[in-house]
């Protein structure tokens, strides 16, 4: 990865948060989110373009010359705001996963080719790792690459690819005779078959990718995949943690404001300790998760007094996944029956929380990853 990113002051971060929250409060309010989620593409292309042209959030954390060179701490602010509003769309897949993989590969030609489009919002990209058995792994892929002269081609199936249908480019993890490698595939290329799947999280689309002898561009070198994916996973864990805490915050605020106004037995339900303590637990877990997410971002940015990135990322992924799921569940419980309806937004967060928790392998995988990072 590149050198230590530009430091960004806490006031600038607060400004960024304010601007983004302002934009999302209208452009991605609940009605807009539901409309985007139900639309054909599953997201609001106009919003995605505005985010690039008005706030430049796609390029914020990309290294120079492609972006502003701010690090994960700045990107985490953006993701936190997206998480608060469960904004549908390919931002995470494009900016965190795909751009993260490109930067981690150190492949200058690939970066020159794809990062400018990602930075200005004109290119949507994603990363395809998981195959039929559902495991997130860094080797033993069924998708195989073959070389004829200088030209590679890929065949096989990636079972679960986030934001696949809206992507222009898919980065595919594949086996080659010389070791695992990452390839870029243009989704308009012949032999690419994309199938939209029904999803648990209705705000994040997933597709199946079938590749039949599709021309592909090698990123980095064969055998270099595992290093790239390790770096991407640390980054993705830290980014996802920020998004999860944004979502948890929204659930906590929803629950607390409801507990203040909803009356039963002649008094606000928030005055009952059973409900109050539930909210206090939600707050405590959210604060713990916030600390973990922030520390992971600082670690990824290589800040001097931060813990090792692999450790902090694994801690954040574990703690924030558990936190968001817990807070999303308890939010529904505080609301009672109304929280169980389709019309109430609580289920959007519940769905997102479980989907986030499983995205990179689920609890069994993230706890083992943490143990490895700690040396157990």
């Amino acid at each position: 990865m590149s050198a230590v990113p530009e430091p960004i002051g806490s006031e600038e971060l607060a400004d960024l948060r304010r601007s983004l929250r302002g934009l999302l409060s209208t452009a991605a309010d609940e009605e807009a989110v539901r409309a985007a989620a139900a639309s054909e593409t599953g997201h609001d292309e106009k919003l995605y373009a505005r985010l690039a042209t008005e706030l430049g959030v796609q390029s914020l954390a990309l290294p120079a010359p492609y972006g502003d060179g701010f690090g994960m701490e700045a990107l985490a602010v953006v993701l936190g705001e997206f998480g608060r509003s469960v904004v549908p769309g390919p931002f995470f897949s494009t900016v965190v996963l795909a751009a993260g993989a490109l930067v981690a590969s150190g492949d200058a030609a690939a970066m020159d080719r794809y990062l400018p489009g990602i930075a200005d919002g004109s290119v949507v990209a994603t990363l395809a790792v998981i195959e039929a058995d559902g495991h997130w792994r860094h080797q033993d892929f069924g998708v195989a690459a073959q070389r004829q002269g200088d030209q590679w081609s890929l065949s096989g199936t990636k079972a679960l690819v986030p934001d696949l249908l809206t992507s222009d480019i898919v980065l595919v993890a594949a086996a080659t005779p010389e070791g695992e490698a990452l390839f870029a595939v243009d989704t308009a290329a012949p032999g690419v078959d994309r199938t939209a799947l029904r999803t648990l999280d209705i705000t994040r689309r997933i597709g199946r990718l079938d590749l039949g002898d599709v021309p592909a561009t090698l990123i980095g070198a064969p055998g270099g995949l595992s290093q790239i994916l390790d770096a991407v996973l640390d980054r993705a864990a830290a980014g996802l943690a920020a998004e999860q805490i944004g979502g948890a915050e929204a659930c906590l605020e929803m629950a607390v404001s409801y507990a203040k106004v909803r009356e039963q037995f002649g008094r606000p339900i928030g005055s009952f300790q059973a409900v109050k303590h539930k909210c206090a637990d939600m707050f405590a877990r959210t604060e713990l998760g916030r600390a973990a997410a922030l520390e992971a971002a600082r670690a990824l940015d290589g800040r001097e007094d931060a813990p090792p990135a692999a450790e902090a990322a694994a801690v954040a992924h574990s703690v924030c996944s558990e936190t968001f799921m817990f807070v999303a569940m308890e939010n529904i419980q505080v609301h009672g029956g109304i929280g169980f309806t389709w019309e109430h937004p609580a289920h959007l967060y519940f769905r997102r929380a479980k989907a986030d928790q499983l995205m990179f392998g689920g609890p069994a995988a993230y706890y083992e990853r943490l143990l490895r990072a700690l040396g157990a």
């Binding site: 607390v256 507990a259 203040k260 008094r267 606000p268 928030g270 005055s271 009952f272 300790q273 409900v275 109050k276 303590h277 909210c279 206090a280 637990d281 707050f283 405590a284 604060e287 713990l288 998760g289 600390a291 973990a292 922030l294 520390e295 007094d305 813990p307 450790e311 902090a312 694994a314 801690v315 954040a316 574990s318 703690v319 558990e322 069994a364 706890y367 083992e368 943490l370 143990l371 700690l374 040396g375 157990a376």
Partner: protein, 406 residues
Amino acid sequence: MSTPSLADFAEEARAFLSEHATPRRAEGAVVWGEGPDRVTYFGDEPKEVDRANVQAARDWQRTRYENGLGWITGPKQYGGRELSIAHELVYDGLEAEYDVPDTGVISLIGLGMIAPTMLAHARPEINDRYLPAMFRGDAIACQLFSEPNAGSDLANVQTRATRDGDSWLLNGQKVWTSAAHHAQLGMVVSRTNPDVPKHKGITTFLIDMSWEGVDVRPLRQMSGGAEFNEVYLDNVRVPDEHRMGEVDGGWRVTMTTLMNERASVGGEGAGPATRPTSRAYLLEMLKATGRDTDGGVRRDFARLLADQTATDYLTHQMMRRARTGDLPGPEASVGKLMFGQNLTRAAHLAAEMTGPRMLADTGDWGAFSWNELLLGTPAFRILGGTEEIMKNILGERVLGLPKEPA
């Protein structure tokens, strides 16, 4: 003299520490089976050891005080330096690099909670008389708050204070008083008016523990030691100048003390249990007990380590912000809540790793010794405000949820 910059102050502190203390030896890697086999939070030491520790704490506090570092944020007239909390944190950070006596018995309650209360509410002559002694390490102060019928509901105190000329007579029973057996001073919360709502009839006093009628009796706790006490007050005569705050206005005074408690608890370490519950130690234990291949144990282990590490991050971030003057509010009690839960889980995880070898003292290193911490863990969810009270505070003061109707 103008306020020294943090850098200049750090230089001064470092010079003081290198003259009066030795740098802490780097704690080498944990080697399983080596070193003291003691896993405890409460001291539970034999009396002589306990007394020697307290004396060492007093001596070190005096050395700090005589070198202008005994009360970094305090007023100059009482021997303080009138510097910022940031300066104090700089000093604490540096002192942690040196091998110095633990002064918790003096500082946590007396200096950390009662002294700020005195500054806000006691009379100048009382402060003149006692504050320098407290910060010199001569006077340890204890908190005579809880009673058999006033635990979480502290405002229900029944200890009576009745006026008798220029003084007051105190009668009643206090309980769970930490360090009363070492203390020279005690802050008493008492009832002066039983005929008004309970919060409005309370008055607070600072008493000398050697006065006639003060009887301190050790209270043995479930882990075996006796850190707490019952304190009986039998016609204790207290001059009116020892009253803190207004007559019947003691609840405000009490809240000053408790706010300082919540500010201090949580940032503190796990005392003697710090090393055994550290990540390095637990990792060695996982391997040494051969449980590192057991999926169930691994899951429990990972869950604890995730929360424990995140709690460390939380504490460090609070400290970092505090150093720039951004002090935590009541949300700091999240740290205390997590601290108690993590330490409790560590003890149960250790039990899971040792298995039946914790049932009896077989002589195995790092097995039976965990009982001491295990038996101390129920206290972590009670002391310094029960978990339930902490959650009320988070719910009401941080989240703004309505109070329980009276």
